[in-house]
Subunit: 244 residues, 2 copies
Amino acid sequence: MNSTIELLKSHRSIRKFTDQPIPRELLVELIQAGQAAATSSHVQAYSVIHVKDQANREMIAELSGGQSYVASCAAFLVFCADMKRPTEASERAGSHVVRGMTEQLLVASVDTALFAQNVAIAAESEGLGLCYIGGIRNNPQQISDLLHLPKHVYPVFGMCLGYPAHQPDIKPRLPVEAILKEDYYTDDQALVEAFDESIHAYYQSRKGGGNKDSNWSRNLRPLFDDKLRAHMREFLIERGFEMK
Amino acid sequence: MNSTIELLKSHRSIRKFTDQPIPRELLVELIQAGQAAATSSHVQAYSVIHVKDQANREMIAELSGGQSYVASCAAFLVFCADMKRPTEASERAGSHVVRGMTEQLLVASVDTALFAQNVAIAAESEGLGLCYIGGIRNNPQQISDLLHLPKHVYPVFGMCLGYPAHQPDIKPRLPVEAILKEDYYTDDQALVEAFDESIHAYYQSRKGGGNKDSNWSRNLRPLFDDKLRAHMREFLIERGFEMK
């Protein structure tokens, strides 16, 4: 295993950070590393808001479900899918732009994720820790207002960055045999059930994170029972991502 | 700049590959590195189909817009957003699952992209080259049929992997000042216009890729003029991603 793969495999979400700040030049380096990721047809359909204003960070921490590290980490970034820049550029070049296609929502969301994952890896390669904040989609309209996001831009997720002040266990993943399939999709229920048992054992034994009596399948229940973030459809349409 | 950031910044799409195969153990290692990426609420909403059947690869090459390297690369992968596995697991754990929420489409698509980007970086760290194949969304239903994808699974993009037989120039990116914004979204039209000039110069000077008289904004026109992949809405609904 080479050192880059070792780095990738040592990822864990960091939620406690030291006071050490991140120099501006390093942050710029991370974003540039992000930009080097593949992008669909070179469209680069993303922008990042570096939220420095402390009052706004505290608001976003609250709006994201009370995630205090949004306010206390060294740097908090909001990764936005940005179809404003490319569609307006294309219009200036004479295009009769059709907006709001479902394909455009996918392109912009995927572009943003590829970009962000490069930023994450660059950060970890410099000894930083991070966690993604999907919770910004709990109240995406209020957060869009706080950051003055224009139409055709939507916040996909946030990212807390800083020097780690804890070292949580690495969370186990599904067996690779469930994920990687040959030629055709095949059922993987037996592998999932075995994974549930190993996750249960992990929760019973792990240090620091609380020993809960659960497993992977049971943990997923709130994701699907509660119509999580049922506002997203209306929110995206309001932002100009009409999913036509 | 450390060696990982250097690796990230040296990315280019590779479309010509040597005949050297990728050992199965290495492919598994890359997928496991992918699995180490962050995943929303641990949902791991992805599966990968490693397409080995040569007839299917040739079909997919054709269905993706005549991209012959899909058939000729050492390994071709189809990255799928997979909501079947987690929703069924959650049901077995007693959940009354609500399917087809827009939020679920985003979670699965973003999870798949974070995962794939880790696979890409792991591959490049081992000297492999790759290109993403968004073209599989040209004919996603036929490709889903070929791969026996069940409902609640959709193919997001493909990836060609292999040892590089060419070394294209690195394609310039938008200036970081356009992408990285402080506290609030700000207009970046002037930066885009300057970028258009530098891209024009790049196209005039680059080796091997053809010297076209274009720039970034003009290149984007087919993306927005032609209602690219207008079938995606209906396709996703048919797959069980109803965007409710």
